[in-house]
């Protein structure tokens, strides 16, 4: 049987690998929501960024090209969302759902249209090399921690860096604080001379671009194969929306929050190994149905929502004006 320490290392490593798309999705959605827009189109935005980014990455044989295109295409989907909700004042919920349907459909449309011409990841050595593990001298050699935290590909490190950057931006910079003012009370921000529509456009697009990177990561993590009726994103966009609430709209908390979600997701696969390696402590894991593990993150979100609404002196991070369109002439 496997060494217990090695098993724990593999388990923790796997949690990180499968949490990263959620981190991209969540941080992207926080940027969008902080501008006062509720974008339910995360799933579709990720799908568009993923599929186009992947194909261009294969053609160009470069992960930088893939990331740039994934970001740009997802940002374009974000621009569509912004045009509909900010300029045309369409209902945000309906528009978001439309974006999801649209984005996933684009994914299947492109995949089915390419058919046998779908590019294989292994045929693009430069691209695959760019997504391979980056070993950090000294750090990667530390037992357990080296494997768990410092043996990942560039996009894993980037996700954490983006999360921290976004946190800094929202809390410590003037444009970030302006953005939060728009999310809380766009009329007040407007009266102070903040350009509401422009700011909304920019942040919806940047947030969507970040989601697109998450989609690309998922696709690459799956080895870039297109499977008929199974989309890479596979519901992660929806979990990301739930996570935004779970982490109270904080990109820094998102790093921890996504790993809680990833923990249960991975536990579902490792339960047998953990139960047989630690029979006294974790033997009960074997008896829990897989469906319960899948439901657990959502049960936790429900609990967080309930606790949050029961708290008296709440300091919720939810922007006050979220979901409401801002119409200047209404002031």
């Amino acid at each position: 049987m496997i060494d217990p320490i090695e098993l724990m290392t593999l388990f923790l490593f796997s949690i990180i690998v499968y949490s990263i798309p959620l981190l991209y999705g969540t941080v992207g959605e926080i940027m969008v929501e902080k501008s006062g827009s509720l974008n339910l189109g995360v799933e579709g935005t990720m799908a568009v960024g993923a599929v186009i980014g992947y194909i261009v990455g294969c053609r160009a044989d470069s992960i930088v090209a893939a990331m740039a295109v994934a970001f740009a295409m997802a940002a374009l989907v974000g621009a569509l969302f912004a045009f509909l909700t900010v300029t045309l004042q369409a209902n945000q919920n309906v528009t978001g759902l439309t974006i999801t349907t649209f984005g996933v459909a684009v994914y299947f449309f492109i995949g089915n249209a390419l058919g046998n011409k779908w590019p294989q990841f292994q045929d693009s050595p430069g691209f695959a090399e760019g997504f391979s593990v980056i070993r950090i001298p000294f750090l990667s050699d530390i037992p357990v921690i080296g494997k768990v935290l410092f043996s990942h590909n560039i996009m894993v490190y980037m996700a954490v860096a983006i999360a921290i950057l976004c946190w800094f931006y929202l809390n410590r910079t003037v444009p970030g604080l302006r953005l939060r003012a728009i999310g809380e009370n766009p009329a007040a921000a407007d009266s102070l001379g903040v350009k509401v529509a422009l700011n909304k456009y920019i942040h919806i697009m940047v947030g969507s671009g970040i989601m697109g990177l998450g989609g690309l990561y998922m696709g690459l993590n799956m080895g870039g194969t297109f499977e008929g009726s199974n989309c890479w994103i596979n519901g992660y966009g929806w979990i990301a929306i739930a996570l935004v609430i779970f982490v109270n709209w904080s990109p820094a908390m998102a790093v921890a929050g996504t790993f809680v979600f990833g923990f249960f997701n991975t536990l579902r696969m490792y339960n047998g190994a953990l139960a047989s390696t630690f029979p006294e402590v974790l033997g009960w894991l074997d008896d829990i149905p897989a469906q319960f593990f899948s439901a657990l993150p959502f049960i936790i979100t429900l609990l967080v929502l309930i606790i949050d609404s029961l708290r008296k002196n709440k300091r919720s991070g939810q922007p006050k004006a979220i979901g409401l369109n801002y119409y200047r002439e209404d002031r």
Partner: protein, 400 residues
Amino acid sequence: MKKVISLIITAAIMAVSLFTFAGCGAKDGDNGQGDFIVGAIYINSQNDTSGYTYAHHKGLVKAMQDLGLDTTRHLKIVDNVEEDDMAVSNAIDLLAGQGCDIIFGISFGYINAMKEKSEEFSDIVFSHATGYMSNDTNFNNYFGRIYQARYLSGIAAGFKSLALGNNNIGYVSAWGTEYAETCSGINAFALGARSVNPDAVIHVKKISAWGDQEKERQAAEVLIDTYDCCVIGQHCDSAQPQLVAQEKGMFGCGYNSDMTSQAPNAHLTAPIWNWDVYYRYAIETAMNNPASQFVSTVGNYYGGLVEGMVDLTPLSANCEPGTDEAIRLAREAMVTGTWDVFSGSKLVFTVRGGNVEMSIVGDALLDNAGNEIVPAGGPSVDDGVIQGSMNYYLEGVIAE
């Protein structure tokens, strides 16, 4: 007065047109070869490029082409139909309205709606894949002995594990003992592997979903990383387990399609379905007989290697020497009917001086708790058990 007259005229026109259309309908329903219409209800999109629906659609199109039926005119499809009685009933009504003479439903959950509608439309044949219900006239079910093909793929896995000196073989399964379909597949794969390497152990990781790429990948990673598995078999839709095997320098047996193109350095061979074998038979029968005699002619269909309903993809270059000869011998034993997988005798393969020898040895079929399923030398378990009630793992299988 004018109103009353116009009302009567309108009613008369409607009545006449109704009778006329009804007359047309009767003519259309005539089982002439020229206007034979095939209907199909799919769980996923007809435009899929791999997976379960794709395999059925490909088989149906091939069968119709073989029979000289133009699929643009004679094939009506309703796809993306969920396993919901109302949705399936609507799909059937739609197909019946388009004049279908036979309707195939490919997913298990269509069972109740198909049974009910087969009573309502007694002049249409209803044929249900993977189900267990039927009647005496126009409603049957069809499936295949995929376990036979899985046994053969197990032989390839057994040779590989023997050559690598590693007895741990993994298996990513959609479900475990909950469904006889997955359970019998796992057991057959295990028997095949152990016919070559008697010490082989099959570690089964179920993902509790029929299709979930990400879980399929993660399960394969767990099997290779923590259980040290050197070959990964699978009963799930995507090629993820094969991709993982390739990334980690291991080997695998796919399912449903030749996954050698996706994992050229890892894939050995894959059990596959040839649904066209049944579709050709069923459509031809329905074309030449009234719907009421369909079941008395075709019955409930359960084709295997003999009929060509199930098969194995060509062995890849990753297979060990001797694999093809062993598979040929085992296939022959099944095709000639001298031996079948779940019986009280086992095939044993030995390699001597580069030659593969096969012997049939009387040996009790035991489950993994040591209970006897079939005594040594006993006959095969019933088809009903393989299709419907097998809910135990055999010796050498461990649920992880």
